[in-house]
Assembly symmetry: D2
Homo-oligomer: 286 residues x 4
């Protein structure tokens, strides 16, 4: 994700210093004119606006608070924007530490995936103070189409995982409804048509239908290649589960959706797009 996002910043005329633990990941950017650094620490000693995109909470902690982390050298008055999807509580914790360094921190997870990263059409859900948000808005607009200020620190992450909880529930719901309808004698196109013109209508049905052949150009019509992998959905549902446990919020369907994606990952669907739950539930014993 980080690569195409950085390219869009370069295209917009920004000067970049980039770092990735996998050196090959920045070769392209170097050729396009970006400088490179050996550690986050090194970047923080020169840059005053830093954007991070990392796989999970522990990585964010390491990159910000580790020995070679950003906070070891960050200059007062810096703006730090983390676009990873992590636990809201960790985002808030890092935000506090950044405040202690007289700098600003925003949690700004994205939706849209690699395609949207390339096309600069990502949606950013941004949590943090108003002043920081105003400073960040134009920068983020170089990489995305929608930039939403969701509220105080942590709410960007909260918005992201709550949307994805609902997304998983809807996708499994569409898959169950479609499978049942087909076994009851409806054509796949017909049940999609009925749902899309009724109260069951949703993005998982009208834009990203999991049944092959209903909509062209999406993963379900391409053997579930590309898109948003089931294992990433399982990860996000795990974050939602943790947040629900901490806040004592009942999320019965979100919790069961989490379990279903865990089972799918263990059954070999981990790299397939998350809409492949249609196939997972469609299995039939002959």
């Amino acid at each position: 994700m980080g690569g195409p996002m950085a390219k869009n910043l370069l295209d917009a005329g920004h000067k970049l210093v980039v770092h990735d633990v996998f050196r090959e990941a920045v070769v392209d950017l170097k050729e396009l004119g970006a400088a490179t650094a050996a550690t986050p620490r090194e970047i923080a000693s020169t840059a005053s606006v830093i954007i991070t995109m990392l796989p999970s909470s522990p990585n964010v902690k390491e990159v910000y608070c580790g020995e070679n982390g950003i906070l070891s050298t960050v200059k007062p008055g810096s703006l730090l924007i983390d676009t990873s999807t992590i636990e809201p509580a960790v985002a808030q914790e890092v935000c506090e530490l950044v405040r202690g360094k007289e700098s600003r921190f925003l949690d700004a997870p994205v939706s849209g995936g690699v395609t949207a990263a390339k096309g600069a059409t990502l949606t950013f859900m941004v949590g943090g103070e108003e002043a920081g948000y105003e400073q960040a808005e134009q920068i983020l607009k170089n990489m995305g189409k929608n930039v939403i200020h969701t509220g105080p620190s942590g709410t960007g992450q909260a918005a992201k995982i709550c949307n994805n909880l609902l997304l998983a529930v809807s996708m499994i719901g569409v898959s169950e409804a479609s499978n049942l309808a087909i076994r009851l004698g409806l054509e796949p196109e017909m049940i999609a048509k009925v749902i899309n013109s009724s109260s069951g209508r949703c993005w998982s049905s009208d834009t990203y239908n999991p049944c092959p052949g209903i909509i062209e150009g999406i993963p379900s019509s391409n053997n579930y290649q590309g898109g948003f992998a089931s294992q990433l959905m399982a990860k996000d549902l795990g974050l939602a589960q943790n947040a629900a446990t901490v806040t004592k919020t009942p999320t019965p369907l979100g919790s069961l959706a989490h379990q279903i994606y865990r089972m799918m990952c263990n059954d070999g669907y981990d790299q397939l797009d998350f809409s492949s739950v249609f196939q997972f539930l469609k299995k039939e014993n002959k």
Copy 2:
């Protein structure tokens, strides 16, 4: 439901003979010019197009196959349209019996509720033979906006219950996501805005949001009065469950949604609109 539907037929110039086990239910129609009959049997002895709207499978069996039922006097060449929501298998069974009387039967359940019945904006999902559908289409258009031929006998019912399974799952999903987001610090309007512009978008969020005050003029902004009662949703989910069991189709979320609506009904939410699941899950221990 039957009352406003009949009025629309009268308005369109059709002659009607009506019957209801509760006599008061047809007083209005009588004043508007409808004839009345004491039994379904009596109606079938004179009318050649008969429309039924009944609460559940056993009532349909009684009205069609009972001692005073339609089949006891139905004339060959009649068209029988059942707009109740019942088990697809029962619809198919009745269809077979009607065929034995040299007449046609369609299962044509509706969506839209009483409001749509009054406004003649119902959606009809119609299962049955092409010829019967063609004959029925104009008649149904007097009562509804969308008339969809879903396929062979039983598929009208199948389409209806599959849509409602997805609707229940979506509504609970929106409620869980909204509750969790609010407890994580988002404003209710903000999580709705994020969802409606992201992949979680669905009818239950953008048209019928369960959180009070987000959308005016719907049950959630009116103490969950009116709309589609939780007990009716529980009934439809029970039909979906039976159909899933018979066809051996796994529907984990639909099944859990069924259980949640059962718990709600037992907890006093039975008469409230089904979007009140937001309140059911929102309970907090002080």
Copy 3:
């Protein structure tokens, strides 16, 4: 099941007239001295005590109420005992019809499987009137070890499916707890030992542990061969689900257990013992 049960009755000195739609099924019994009949109707015209063992509700309806069924010729004062596992409501319905013939009907489903049928160690859960139960008790004791009078008509079936609902829930629970413990570093024997001496103790752990090698001589230590097939468990959970829907009783775990066994059957576990859910949940992506 019917074969070994009949042999035990022959061994006890009873005279039998037997029937099965598959004629080969009664060849052994014929050699052992049983008479045979072509239809249930034929049996009912001569015998005054009739025992049936059938796969599911529709078969019971056919054998009792069909054209060649028992009720077409049953003599007043007969005792009819159905040992099938079927819907409680169907048992009650048949009971009413039998009463109309001035005879007695008991629902008497069994637990214990083929092994217990051979060894005459079945448990019979018997629903129906006291007088009928007293007449049946000695006969059933020729085939089983425990004969329990559970209450009025239908309660034998109710007791059976409620026990099996709990059994499925416990078995999945033991499987989840064992898998989780093993992944957290415990030896399989150790988690079994802890559970069996703690509050998690249950038949599914101390007598029929699903983890291979913990207990010898049971299906889990024999590649899940023999025992009680997952598809039969799925069937019983479907009956429990129907009964719960009709009585509006929430059974969230029983309902999810049903869905899990449906998924297992569709994934090729249908013929394996129901304890194979341990393997189904244990799958791991390498």
Copy 4:
């Protein structure tokens, strides 16, 4: 919990130095001859065997690793035993830190509740090195009846939470089966009798039956007072959920059980014994 456990150690002739953040909690122990300390740090500077009993993971981290924590003054060669129920990963983390201080750490959560703590009949599930276990065994036997060495560090916690996951699942299962059976016409005593002599048999049915009046002297026969509060069960199920997420282990029923206890707590059952789930599911709409 800590109070009665300490008394049993005093009774056995051990010398104690005790500390609790609530000073009143140690008044009794002081009268019985225990010395007191102001902080864990102070205790660690004198004692070489230290036992902790704390509410949750953050408290354990604070008491061991905080400014006034045990590790700030612990002497090499000490034995530290934590009897709290916490996350296995936190136990392993603390164990590592203790090792760095050349001392030994055991995770030794208990089952049995306050009653067993008073009667010295607790079960200890002990994770950690063999040498530490051997040193701890006799000490723990002063407070408990069963002391089980479950394996390496963290496995004591793992065993505890896996048992409790199964316990919750069983208890809800017994409640569902009993409620359904009662609504189908069985007497509460009868369904308990059937289950206890069949494959549904479990501790939650034969020892701690949730239906009032079946077994005397337990919470269900005393308005669900005493026992193990629903909110503690919710906490343990949250720990199990976290452990399952981290290890990517599917636990569908355990996860749903967690959600049910969350809903119960929010509905006012938080202080009632966890067997009150029978009442929560039994609600009926009149």
